[in-house]
Symmetry: C2
Subunit: 601 residues, 2 copies
Amino acid sequence: MASKFFSERNLRFLLYEVFDIETLTQYDLYKEYDAKTFDMVLKAAMELAQGLLWPIFQEMDQNPPEFVGDRIKVHPSVRKFLEECGQGGWIGSRMPYEWGGQQLPQMIAHGCEFVFAAANYSASVYPGLTSGAAHLILSFGNEEMKKTYLPKMLSGKWQGTMALTEPEAGSSLSDITTEAEPTDKGYYKIRGQKIFISAGDHDAVENVVHLLLAKIKGAPAGVKGISLFVVPKRRSDEKGQLVDNDVVTSGIFHKLGYRGSPIVQLSLGDNNNCRGYLVGEPHQGLLQMFQMMNEARIGVGIGATAIASAAYYAALDYSKKRLQGRRLSTKDPAVPQVPIIEHPDVKRMLLFQRSVVEGALSLLMQCGKYADLATVLIGEEKEKNELLLDLLTPVAKTYPSEMGQLAVSQGLQCLGGSGYCDDYPLEQHYRDMRIHPIHEGTTGIHGLDLLGRKVMMKGGKAFKLYLEEVEKTLYEAEKFEPLQSYTHKLKDSLALLQKVTSYLMGVREKGNPEIFLADATLYLELFGIICIAWQWIVQATVVVKALRNSPGETEANFYNGKLFAFRYFFEYELPKIEGLAKRLMNSDGLTVDIKPEYFSD
Amino acid sequence: MASKFFSERNLRFLLYEVFDIETLTQYDLYKEYDAKTFDMVLKAAMELAQGLLWPIFQEMDQNPPEFVGDRIKVHPSVRKFLEECGQGGWIGSRMPYEWGGQQLPQMIAHGCEFVFAAANYSASVYPGLTSGAAHLILSFGNEEMKKTYLPKMLSGKWQGTMALTEPEAGSSLSDITTEAEPTDKGYYKIRGQKIFISAGDHDAVENVVHLLLAKIKGAPAGVKGISLFVVPKRRSDEKGQLVDNDVVTSGIFHKLGYRGSPIVQLSLGDNNNCRGYLVGEPHQGLLQMFQMMNEARIGVGIGATAIASAAYYAALDYSKKRLQGRRLSTKDPAVPQVPIIEHPDVKRMLLFQRSVVEGALSLLMQCGKYADLATVLIGEEKEKNELLLDLLTPVAKTYPSEMGQLAVSQGLQCLGGSGYCDDYPLEQHYRDMRIHPIHEGTTGIHGLDLLGRKVMMKGGKAFKLYLEEVEKTLYEAEKFEPLQSYTHKLKDSLALLQKVTSYLMGVREKGNPEIFLADATLYLELFGIICIAWQWIVQATVVVKALRNSPGETEANFYNGKLFAFRYFFEYELPKIEGLAKRLMNSDGLTVDIKPEYFSD
C-alpha cells in the first residue's frame, strides 16, 4: 500500500501561507498559541494517523462491526484510538480550557480532522461525533449536564452521537415521532425508534450519549415541536452506578463502505424506562441541533476531501511505478515501456484529483477561518463571518462529496483492473466515499438549502458578502500578470452566477416554489465550481508570489504543480458552468410537469 | 427486491417500432424468422432471466467464486444456467444453423443479452464469453477445430474465454510475452502468464477453451508478432480422453463487484506440456482477436446499460413507495407525506437514469442493426455499415459505461441511506457497474481509438457517413413541429462537433501526437453525448407519430414518458457539450507539459 495519504506540505501551505493562521494568535482566545505550538499539534495528529489509523485502514473494512449478544463489537483498535484521542485532547480540540479542551482554532482542528480521515475515515468518525455532541452540550446544556457528560466524553470514555433519523423521517425531520413524556422528576420518558445512527452503540466505550431529537407530548406539529434531549445508553442510578437506560440496539446496517463504523438502529423506551434530559428550552431542538449538523456538514466535506486525498496519493504512487505503453511520439516496441504518469490522459486524471482535493481543502480551510473569526470578532464583523460560513456550508459539504466521488473514481481508473481489486486501496476508497452525498443531508437537500434559503437570507446579505470576498481576491490576483487571464475568467463566471441567480429570483417571484427550486441541485453544482475556482485563485496568488522568491527545487516543484492544478481547474472544470447555466436559465418546469405515471414503463 | 429490472415495452419499442427488425427477414439469412418467432425468442430469454438469473442476483454476489484445491468453485446455478443456455441455443444465437446455432439477427441477440445482464450481470458473462470465443473459432479456425470445439461450446459444456492480458501487458498488448514454440506435431508449446481472465476457470463446465494471444518464437516485436491460439484447459489424448493441458489456475482476484464471475490468473506451460493450436495464419492474432474484442466491447455497453436499467427500476420502485416530505407548495406538517417521486429533484434523478438507459440501449440497437446489415448486404452498402459500426463501437462501449456509473449512482441516491445498505440492490449495482470503464479497453484507450483512428480512417469516410446518418434522422424529425426546436439543437451540436473535429485535425497536422490526443477522452465524451441526443431524436420521431394515433392510457403514458426523457436529455445533458467543446478547442498542452516531478508533493 502506498505510504502517503495526504500532503503535509499542502496542509502547511494552506494553514500558514494562504490562510495565515498565525494572525489568529493576536486574539485572547488563541493567545497561548504560536506557529511552533500549532506545529506540535499537527505533528502529533500526523503521528497518530500514521502510527495507529492508517495501518488498520483495510483491516477495519474487512472486519466490520458485529452484533454480538446485545452489543456491537468493533475493531479492538477503536478503544485504543479513543483513549489516545482523550489523552491527546483531540476530542476537545476546540473546547475551552476550563473543560479540559485545547481551545484550538477551527482551522487547525480541520487540519487534524482531515489527517485522521485521510488515514482512516471510519475510525475518524468516532471522536468527531463525540466532539460535536459535547459541543452541543457545552452550548445549550445546563451545568449539571456539562459536569456529567463533558469530562467522560472529552476523555474518550463515552461516545457521543446525533440521533435524528427515524424509519419514516429522514430528510423530513418534521415527521419524527419519537416522543418525550414529561415527568415531575426533571427528566422525560422517551419512546421511539432511531435509525442510521453512526457509532450509535459499540464496545469500545463505557457509555453512549445520544443527542436526540424528540417531540414533547402535545408539542406543535412539524419542526416547531422538536426538542433536543440527552439520552444516555446507561444512566447513573442513585448510587452513581451506571445502569441501563432502556436504549436497545435493535439492528445494524450492512453498508457499501465506511464499514469500520457501526450504523445502528435503536429502540428507546420499549420498557417505559428510558430517561431523556431536555437540553435548553422545549421546542428549540432543531435550532440547537443545527449547530451540530452544520459542524457535521463541514466534517463530511473534510471526510470526503480526505478520502479523495488518500485515493489520489494511491493513484499517484501507482502511476509513477506502473510501466505500461509508450509515449504517443514513440511507437517503437523495442523502446522500453514508460511509467503511466508519462501519458497525458493519466496526468489529466491525476490533475483532476489534485484540483478537487486541494481546491476543496482550501474551501474547508476558508470556512474554518470564517468560523474562527466569527468566534473571536464581535458585532458586524462577527455577523459577516457567520453569514459567510452559513452560506458556504452546503457548498463545503457537497462539492467535496460529489466531486470527491468522481475524483476517487478517476483514481481507481488510473490503476485499471488493479483498481477494481482489493489488492489496492482504491476500491475501498470508492465504497467509503459514496456515503458523503447522503449523510448529513443529501445533495438535493443542500441544493434547496443554498438556493431556497441561504442565498436569500437577510435580503441576500450573505450572497453579497460572498461576492465581495471573491472580488477582494480578484483585486489582489490581478496585480500579477500570469494570473490576469484567469481573473478575467473568474469575473465572467461570477457575472454568470449573478445572472443565473437574478434569473432564478425572478422565477421565484412568480410564486411557484417547485419551478423555482426544481434545479436547485444544479445551482449548487454551479455555485460550487465557481467557489472552488475562487479558492484556486486564492492559492495561485500565493504561489505566484512564492515562485518569485526563487525557491529550491523541491519547493519549486510543489508550487509549479500547484499552478498546473490551478490551470487545470480553470481549463477543464470551470467550463462546466456553461452547460449548467444554460439549463438553469430555463424554467420550463420539465421535472415538475412530468407525471409519476409517465414512469410507469 | 423490486421485481422489475428492465422494460419489456421499451425493448419491443426499439426492436419493432424504431429499428424495424422485421425488415431483416427479407434477407435469406433471416428468412426463417418473423415477428412471431422473434417474440418467442424474446419471451424465452425473459423467462430464463426472471426464473433463474434474477433470483440469484444477490446470492451470487454474496457467495463469490472460491479457489478450492486447484479449481474455482462457482455458484451451483451457473452450471444450470449454462446447460439451459446450451439447450435453448443462447450461446449460438448468432451462429449458423449448420453448427447448431439459431442464426438470429444481432439486434435480437443484443436484446436477449441485455435481458440476461439486467437480471444478473455476472451470470450473463459466462455464455457471452463462450459465444464470442466460438464465433472467433468459426471465423478463423480450421474444420477440425470447429468440430472439436464448437459443439461442446455451443452446448454450454465447455467455457470459452479471451486470454489477452498479462502482468506487464494490459492496455499495451504489444508487450505480451507469452511464447508459442512450434513443434513438428501440428501444435505449439505455450509458456506464459495471463491475468484478469474472466470465467478463466470454474467447476460449472468440463473444460475451458482459451482464445489466447501469444508470440511465436522469433516473431517480430510488437503487435505484428502476435498470433492467436486455441489453448484448452484440458485436451484430448490419443484415446479421446480429456487430459490436463498444463494450464494452471494460479490465482483469483477479489473484486469490488461483478463478483459472481471468477477473474483468474493462469500459468501456462510450467511443465512444458501446454499445447496451443494456431488459429488462422501466424502473426495475424491481434487482427483476428479484434473480432472478439469488438463484440465484447458492444457486450460491455450492453452490460453497462443493463445494470443501469436494473438500478433505475429499483430506484423507481422505491421512489413510488417511499413517503417522505411534502411538496414545496404545501409545507403544512399536518398534510400527509408524499411518495418521493412527487419531488422534482427525484424526478430529475429518475429522468437522468431513464434518459441514459434508453438512450444507450437505442445506440446499441443501432449498432446491432449496422452489424446485421453488414452481414446481409454486399459491396458498398456492406462497407458502409461496417464503417459505421467501427466508428461507433468505442462510443457504444464507453457512453453506457461512464454515464451508466452516474446513472446507478443517482439511483442509489434516490434511496438515500437505504441505497448505501445491502437491504436494497443499489449498492451491488454500483459495485458491479464500476468494471465497465475498465475492461475491454479503458475509457482512455477508447478515446484514443475514436479520435486517433476511427474518425480519420479511410480519409474520414466513417465520420462522414455518420454525419449523413444523423442528417437523415434530422430530415425525418423536422417534419414534426414538436420536434423542431430539438432538431435545431442537434444541428447546432453537430456543427459544433464538426468544428471541434476540424480544429483537432488542424492540431494533428502540426505533428505532435501527444498534444493532438491529449484530450481524446473528452472528445469521446462530447461525441457520445451528441450520439445519444441523435438516438433520442430517432426515438422521439417514432413517439410523436405514435401519439398521433391516440393510443390507450398505458401506451400514452409510455410514450409521454419517452418524450419527457427525450426532452430531459436535450435540456440537461446536451448542454454539457458546451464546456467540453470549450476545452477541446484549446490545445495548450497542459497535460503534456506538466512534469511528473510536479506531482511530487
